[in-house]
Assembly symmetry: C2
Homo-oligomer: 308 residues x 2
């Protein structure tokens, strides 16, 4: 087992998120191999370009691969795929595994750690929550608008030595990283924002967060969905204080006419992560005995609104 060294890293799902974190790690000296599809030729030719803080830098010798067989076994797999493509992991992951390979999912919502754990063993699984604004502005070109904090945790365990080593690796690469005691509690905390704002922005017909908050009736639905999310989390053993909802609403006001990521996906015709953001929290909450009528209605509406 060489899991605490992370000599070789694979990025699976090299969209803006995977490309950005992978480029940061590679720039700092790690052996990072990127699984790429659409941008493969462009990145092999021109490398990866990152624009951040008003300046740009380029990673020239990018190990961009067209398959995970080409990548081969690694010490760490960083998964940045859209959760709507999770079933493709069944073929993508096996070629990357050796006995001690760790799987780090940076994906949205609930159910992703479970997906990995059920197939390749829960002892391999970590998760991260990304608070970062990124956009892929052209093939192989990632723009970073702000933030970047990564919250890292173990799946179903408190942090271990390897968690802190991994955190140090990201920190050394210039990614502000913190280790969290309970990863799934953090996921629920993030859902307190994502469930109402991402969901209502679509279901109300395409409304930015300022419009959701400006209308008394919709703001009451934001708050009620936050309360349901906090109740579901509590039923599952994740305690989130009730005033966390007020804090989340307060911090959203200064964001102005903000488009939640799911709203952007929907408006641009891309798949929306309905199952991981609404479906899985609803299923887990109801299975544990929570009463979630608004989340249930919102989930089923979103399934249909976002399907072709």
């Amino acid at each position: 087992m060489r899991m605490s060294t992370f000599e070789r890293i694979a990025i699976v799902g090299s969209g803006a998120l995977g490309s950005y974190y992978g480029a940061k790690l590679a720039r700092q000296g790690s052996d990072v191999r990127f699984l790429m599809r659409a941008d493969l030729a462009a990145v092999r030719r021109d490398g990866l370009r990152v624009i951040e803080g008003g300046e740009g830098w380029r990673l020239n010798s990018v190990l961009a691969c067209g398959s995970t067989t080409e990548i081969g076994p690694v010490d760490l797999v960083v998964i940045g795929l859209k959760t709507t493509a999770n079933s493709s992991l069944d073929e993508l992951i096996p070629p990357l595994l050796h006995e001690g390979t760790l799987l780090l999912t940076l994906q949205n919502g609930l159910g992703n750690e479970e997906y990995l754990a059920a197939r390749w063993g829960k002892e391999r699984v970590l998760g991260g929550l990304c608070f970062v604004c990124l956009n892929r502005v052209a093939p192989g070109v990632i723009e970073h608008y702000g933030h970047g904090t990564l919250s890292l945790g173990e799946y179903g365990r408190v942090p271990m030595e390897r968690t802190r080593v991994l955190s140090a690796l990201f920190s050394a690469a210039g990614v502000e990283t913190r280790v969290v005691e309970n990863l799934i509690t953090e996921r629920w905390r993030k859902l307190v924002w994502n469930i109402p704002f991402n969901g209502l922005s679509i279901a109300a017909g395409g409304r930015t967060t300022d419009l959701l908050l400006a209308d008394d009736g919709l703001r009451a639905q934001v708050r009620a969905l936050m309360a349901e999310t906090i109740a579901a989390a509590a039923t599952l053993g994740h305690q989130i204080p009730a005033d966390f909802a007020d804090y989340q609403i307060e911090r959203t006001h200064p964001m102005g006419p903000y488009k939640p990521s799911s709203m952007i996906d929907w408006q641009q015709g891309r798949a929306v992560e309905v199952e991981s953001i609404w479906g899985e929290p609803w299923r887990q909450g109801v299975a544990a005995g929570a009463v979630l009528p608004r989340l249930e209605l919102l989930y089923h509406l979103l399934r249909h609104i976002t399907s072709p």
Copy 2:
């Protein structure tokens, strides 16, 4: 008081509904005056044409008027306006009134009898529920596809002699009419269908009733919204048996890919009757102590989805 004779009748809101019932009454011999806007010139020139049962008939000498001042006082005002235009009644109704004028609203949802009662006295107000498939296929041309039953009742009173006289008038004109003991209970019964099907057909992104029923998750929302509607009605003193929901779902299956009227309004860019179908039932139910989370969310979503 000559309220039991209905010698002169005004139709306010001469869309498909008002034009059809007005034409039937006029054809049978009543003095019916139609308030018209868009179709005024066409109807003055060509009369009203009704297509029903595979055949057509024409009402030639139609008393089509451009204002209610032109119509003057009548014995009965039949109101077929969209509820979204209710505020226009404030100017339209007064010229039509004498001491005994009755106001019969055939409009959808809740709150219409209250609107009339608050302004012109509750003793004048009756209501009717129309179960009829009509379409205005061209100016002054109404097609009647089926059904036609009219349920008539008093507002806040059991049926009176005048209710039965009015029912007989419609029956004589060829409109199957029944007198109902409690008008508002009947309105709630109709809402048990309209709240879920009209609402979800829009909120799920434009889905006909067969699609709402074919999906397990949406069908569960239909049923849950029916249960909330029945609970709201019960809280307000209107008892509807729980198995009425099953009956409404069963009768919807054979309707196939049916578009609820609100979905057609929405798709054609017309105003949707959000307040009378969802807003007022939610407000009245909550004020009486009912717990209506799905109806509340659906109402606020629909307000925004259907607004420009």
